[in-house]
């Protein structure tokens, strides 16, 4: 495995890998989000209780899942960066952080918009909402710590340490609906066999989650490409790439 993985520690190879992967992620995200939204927003049946306003689930749940998914992948990249001293993984951390922060913000905003008609309040200090808000602060912490350092090598490693420390929040978010009696409902889609959600709503939701995952991948890869170019800007391969246009 090492023989296979190690070449990607070189920025040029990592850049090429980004280019190879990008079209796949792009196709997945465009197709799945289009299909998922049209199916979910127009064709899935209305909820018996919440009527049509439940349809925000097709944006809220994928972005909430991806806000945590992006954080876990960022933390894994951070561990790789610190343990094996791979500089590209630090760049990956920095590339993922703003995307994850945006996903967290989308989850919080759509959640507020959903909460207003259902709970009668934009915001409640419920365990899951609060821990999701902490996740947003953690993303901001990683981003602002990175930008506080002049020396980007130190900045990358400092951001990695903070990203790993923040992982402690992930289980808190995930189990917050089980540990505390909260207004936010428990998870419905992880229990396939008990089917807490009807298949006609489940399928568009799953397709949307896949689409959002692809979308996060696309943006993160594009940012990673930029970071790789910026950090290697004096290398011959970058100059060659630019001169080729």
């Amino acid at each position: 495995m090492w023989k296979w993985l190690h070449p990607y520690a070189k920025a040029e190879r990592a850049y090429q890998l980004c280019n190879t992967l990008l079209p796949y992620f792009a196709v997945i995200s465009i197709v799945c989000i289009l299909v998922g939204w049209v199916w979910g927003l127009a064709f899935a049946p209305a909820d018996y209780q919440q009527k049509d306003s439940y349809r925000i689930i097709f944006i809220h749940v994928p972005s909430a899942i991806l806000s945590m998914g992006a954080y876990s992948s960022m933390a894994i990249a951070a561990i790789v960066a610190l343990v094996w001293q791979i500089r590209n993984a630090e760049l990956a951390v920095i590339s993922i952080a703003p995307v994850g922060a945006a996903m967290t913000a989308i989850a919080l905003i759509t959640g507020a918009a959903w909460g207003k008609p259902m709970w009668g309040a934009w915001w409640v200090w419920d365990a899951r909402l609060t821990s999701e808000l902490i996740l947003l602060f953690l993303y901001f912490g990683v981003i602002s710590l990175y930008h506080a350092f002049e020396d980007k090598k130190v900045a990358g490693r400092a951001a990695c340490i903070l990203a790993i420390v923040g992982v402690i929040n992930l289980p808190i978010i995930h189990f917050s609906v089980e540990w505390w009696n909260t207004l936010h409902q428990g998870s419905t889609i992880t229990k396939f066999d008990t089917s807490a959600i009807d298949p006609t709503m489940l399928w568009p939701l799953l397709i949307n989650i896949l689409g959002f995952a692809g979308f996060v991948g696309v943006i993160a890869l594009m940012r990673l490409k930029n970071e790789l170019l910026r950090c290697e800007q004096h290398r011959p391969w970058v100059r060659e790439l630019i001169s080729r246009g």
Binding site: F140, G141, A148, V165, I168
Partner: protein, 228 residues
């Protein structure tokens, strides 16, 4: 060749040095404490002096004041050692850096956390906190403030190399303080209803145990990054 010292001697040396330095500059001890007192005084003035309202809000106010005044000393935790080069000596020494880090954090707690624990009954009285909640207040502060120093140490280690790290430090550390705040205030609230608060206290203790074994490594790797 240098003579080998035991780990305990190292711990004691670093701890005594930090505490002695703090006692030489009394302001370092008294300013955060004074800040704690003033923040607590502001609340009755701002929200009104009704005893019922105050006693309901007392746990939260005492804990938020404790968080903020812990933050004050954090900026300096590694700063002076970083500037005069002794931090590099600690890193270069054959002893584990995490041990000297624990000693420094313990010194920080002795200077900033312990006085708050000792003074908290007085504030509980000022804030009209009910009698049965007094024990919970002191105990949660006793278990919680070392944890605050440990978590804060991670942020201090990450920002020690920065010119203006103070504001960033609070941005990094305060979100991580939230779980401590939640369980501590929930324990005091429960005790006000004369219920058993052992559960929340046990969770705080578990968090302290995890912090004690993992934070020193996080702090020392943060310091290594900052000093390199």
């Amino acid at each position: 060749m240098h003579t080998q010292h035991s780990y305990w001697q190292l711990f004691k040396a670093v701890y005594t040095k930090d505490v002695t330095l703090a006692f030489r500059q009394r302001a370092e001890i008294f300013n955060p404490l004074l800040f704690f007192v003033i923040v607590i005084t502001l609340f009755p003035l701002a929200i009104g002096p009704e005893p019922a309202l105050l006693s309901r809000m007392a746990p939260g106010i005492i804990w938020v004041a404790a968080l903020l005044s812990t933050m004050l000393g954090l900026d300096k935790l590694f700063k002076e050692d970083y500037l005069d080069g002794s931090l590099e000596q600690l890193i270069a020494s054959p002893y584990p850096l995490s041990l000297s880090v624990v000693a420094k954090v313990a010194a920080h707690w002795t200077i900033s956390g312990l006085p708050m624990v000792l003074l908290s009954p007085l504030f509980a009285l000022l804030m009209n906190l009910e009698q049965q909640a007094l024990g919970a207040t002191v105990l949660t502060l006793l278990v919680g403030t070392p944890l605050l120093s440990l978590i804060g140490g991670i942020g201090a280690g990450l920002t020690v190399g920065l010119q203006k790290g103070g504001l960033l430090l609070s941005l990094l550390v305060l979100p991580l303080y939230i779980p401590v705040l939640i369980f501590a205030t929930s324990a005091i609230d429960t005790s006000m209803m004369s219920l058993a608060y052992g559960g929340q206290l046990a969770i705080l203790g578990a968090m302290l145990a995890i912090g004690l074994v993992s934070a020193p490594f996080a702090i020392s790797s943060a310091l290594r990054v900052s000093v390199s």
